[in-house]
């Protein structure tokens, strides 16, 4: 299916995905402030450009022109490496996410996806768990008690919640039988037969995954690593200028990626209801060619996937401005004594349901 221009096509897709995740992360900062304002009966930034849409630009200029500060006794090399690592790992994971179905031009067919590998899920997990090194290194290199405490918290939190997250995924993998994100997506809607999205088959798993996603991205109510009330600024206490900007930015990129992963795993990815009926309608009633109808469906599916992602991003922000922060012991208790047993129970339950042929 993939012919030689696929490599060129892939690089274009990767570049577009890279640009898109940066753009979305940029406007997440704006969206966060506006949503926070709306939830608190305010209107938020509305001065820079129409509706304040140029606010991220102003923020970026502010970040770039601020003084770059190195604390005394800091390990300079690692101090710089920390935010870079956080940003790189955040950006890397979007490479394997299938943003759309197949596009066909003549004899060539392309995936709207950076790299299609059969271990996509593993890749994301590997890269996401690398992300904590950015926080860890930055916190340690700052030579600051608060930073170090924040970094230690981040590390222990991520390790605790990755367990439950991985186990909630196992249940999905038991249903799908593959680690390829494209395969998982395609299984959620098969042409000709009615297939449910995974959320219907895995409600408990989805809730566990959602909670863990909040913890993995260090978002409220699990934002203990940057807990202002206890740790000044957490791991980025000593950071200023664009190095701080990279940390804050990587958080939004992470949210984007994790929203995409949730959409793909549980909400059918680029599938949308009645897509095959719509394609057949275009072919049969409108006299389109199969390829162009398929391409249109692919584009609509990509739009649909992004709508799902935006809905999740909105949910992340909605929760952030609703819930207070957990206490540290509550966080650990929730992770180890509730989510992990629940995830194990979910695996057993899924196994039973598969065994008796329910799903």
């Amino acid at each position: 299916m993939l012919e030689l221009p696929a490599l060129g096509w892939q690089s274009i897709v990767i570049f577009v995905v890279f640009a898109l995740s940066l753009l979305i992360a940029t406007y997440c900062t704006y969206a966060e402030r506006v949503i926070a304002a709306f939830l608190q009966d305010r209107v938020g930034p509305d001065r820079a450009g129409p509706f304040g849409l140029l606010q991220p630009l102003a923020d970026a200029v502010k970040m770039f022109t601020k003084e770059e500060f190195f604390p005394g006794g800091a390990n300079k090399a690692l101090f710089v490496v920390g935010p870079c690592l956080a940003m790189i790992t955040a950006l890397m994971s979007s490479a394997v996410i299938p943003f759309g179905n197949t596009m066909s031009f003549g004899n060539n067919a392309f995936f709207l996806q950076g790299i299609e590998v059969n271990i996509g899920m593993l890749w994301i997990f590997g890269v996401v768990s690398l992300g904590v090194y950015g926080v860890m290194i930055g916190g340690w290199a700052s030579n600051n008690k608060f930073s170090l405490l924040g970094a230690v918290r981040a590390a222990s939190q991520n390790i605790s919640y990755e367990l439950a997250m991985g186990m909630s995924l196992i249940a999905v993998l038991m249903i799908s039988g593959t680690l390829s994100l494209r395969e998982i997506t395609l299984q959620q809607s098969v042409a000709g037969e009615w297939q449910m999205w995974n959320i219907v088959k895995q409600p408990i798993g989805f809730i566990i995954f959602l909670v863990c996603a909040f913890a993995e991205t260090n978002r409220t109510p699990f934002d203990l690593p940057e807990c202002e009330t206890e740790l000044v600024g957490g791991y980025h206490t000593e950071y200023s200028s664009m190095k701080l900007g990279l940390y804050l930015f990587s958080e939004y990129v992470n949210i984007f990626v994790v929203s995409a992963v949730m959409s793909v795993l549980y909400f059918g990815g680029f599938n949308f209801p009645f897509q095959y009926e719509l394609r057949d309608w275009f072919v049969n009633s409108q006299g389109w060619e199969l390829d162009s109808a398929q391409n249109l469906i692919t584009i609509l599916g990509t739009v649909g996937l992004f709508l799902k992602i935006f809905a999740f991003i909105f949910f992340f922000m909605w929760v952030r401005w609703t819930l207070p922060r957990f206490r540290y012991d509550q966080l650990m208790r929730l992770g180890w004594t509730i989510l992990i047993p629940l995830a194990v129970f979910n695996i057993v339950l899924t196994g039973g349901l598969i065994l008796f042929g329910v799903i």
Binding site: F38, L39, D41, R42, W318, V319, W321, T322, L323
Partner: protein, 187 residues
């Protein structure tokens, strides 16, 4: 020791399953914040819109003219005496022949200055004035400025214009240049 009969024995009941699951409470909270999302916003976008002043708000001073457009102020200095913040200074002068159309009394204020940084907007000058010359307007404020000396309002900015007020509805007073331009047009 019992102080009142309203003492209440608190029972620490074990939490129900729904309470321990925490999710119902989260959805309750989310619904509350979502309700606020669609509520009317409390923000007043200041330079574009202003909050309505109350009817007896004491704002920026104005030196009134009488029905024939003559300045009412006779520079008696009672307002300056009444002023608890000592914000008002004036220099009195004698009206010359041919100036009867400008000043109502034979004595008038050559200069009349109010320092808006000192002024506490108590309105005692208004009460003290025997000629009903000075008033605190209910719809105009002394706006913020960058320079200290811009807060010393002279007659150029205090005296009521001859023609109907063309100043901004936002309650921002004219700068001296704008006032000069306006006066040049009137004269």
């Amino acid at each position: 020791m019992q102080l009142t009969n309203r003492a209440k024995v608190l029972e620490k009941k074990p939490m129900t399953l729904a309470e321990r699951a925490y999710l119902p409470a989260i959805f309750q909270g989310l619904s509350i914040t979502m309700r606020h999302f669609f509520m009317k916003k409390a923000t007043v976008r200041y330079p574009e819109e202003v909050r309505p002043f109350s009817g007896f708000f004491r704002g920026l001073h104005v030196l009134k003219r009488d029905e024939q457009g003559r300045e009412r102020c006779t520079a008696c200095g009672l307002c300056a005496v009444a002023c608890p913040a000592e914000a008002i200074t004036m220099v009195a002068g004698e009206r010359k022949k041919g100036e009867e159309g400008l000043y109502r009394e034979e004595k008038y204020a050559v200069s009349y200055e109010i320092n808006m940084l000192r002024c506490i907007f108590c309105g005692l000058c208004e009460e003290a004035c025997p000629k009903a010359a000075i008033y605190l307007q209910p719809d105009k404020m002394a706006p913020p400025r960058f320079e200290r000396d811009e807060f010393t309002y002279g007659k150029d900015r205090l005296v009521e214009p001859v023609s109907p007020d063309e100043r901004s509805v936002r309650g921002i007073q004219l700068t001296p240049e704008q006032a000069d331009k306006l006066r040049a047009r009137i004269m």
